[in-house]
Symmetry: C2
Subunit: 124 residues, 2 copies
């Protein structure tokens, strides 16, 4: 039942941790399209944080297209087809920048490529 967990001692904002956690669940397939997420109040109670913080995470996840919230019903995971294109562009920039710096620091292109192949099946 404890779908996600957060770390109050982390420097990253709680709402960002919540966003990342649900993105991972969706990416890994642990949360399938149309599947219901915990309600704002329920999750806030589980994590012992304020409902407003959860609401912010859900609102931003919805803006990215990862989830869809319906008043009175709940929040639900979306199919990947509905994820916003700007999210892809953002990720590509992160990818490119990390590659550039890793290559500079001595990593070989082959080593980075093999890391991509390692993602086929196991999700960690």
């Amino acid at each position: 039942m404890a779908m996600i967990s957060i770390n109050l001692r982390d420097s990253r904002p709680i709402y960002e941790q919540v966003k990342d956690a649900f993105r991972r669940l969706i990416i890994s397939g642990a949360l399938t399209p149309e599947e219901k997420l915990p309600s704002v109040r329920e999750l806030a109670a589980q994590l012992v944080i304020n409902p407003n913080t959860i609401q912010r995470a859900y609102r931003e996840l919805e803006a990215e297209g990862y989830i869809s919230s319906i008043p009175g019903k709940g929040s639900f995971a979306c199919a990947k087809s509905s994820i916003d294109d700007s999210r892809v562009r953002e990720l590509l920039k992160v990818f490119d920048d990390s590659v550039t710096e890793l290559l500079f620091l001595g990593k070989s292109p082959g080593e980075l490529k093999s890391r991509i192949d390692g993602k086929g099946d196991a999700q960690k």
Copy 2:
């Protein structure tokens, strides 16, 4: 002479923008090892921001091993051999996470690999 520029309307902290800017200069080779960076006060005057903000950026870049600051002399770019290992681990995590999400969103492994190859010569 304007080595870097910052955007006050950006949501990211100024000192983070400064850090990224100098990392890019070093990575691209525009700033070679032992080369001198602008002084704290000089750069602050150029960018019209507070010297303390520059100082923070320099301090953190030094902790990562990208630059070395010597009281009375100045701050200088370092050779890549002195960059901290934790920076590499951090970058690998960013790389892996972006790959996982990009693959989920429909990008093919081949497309990502070709992006790695595109970094051999041109730098942006």
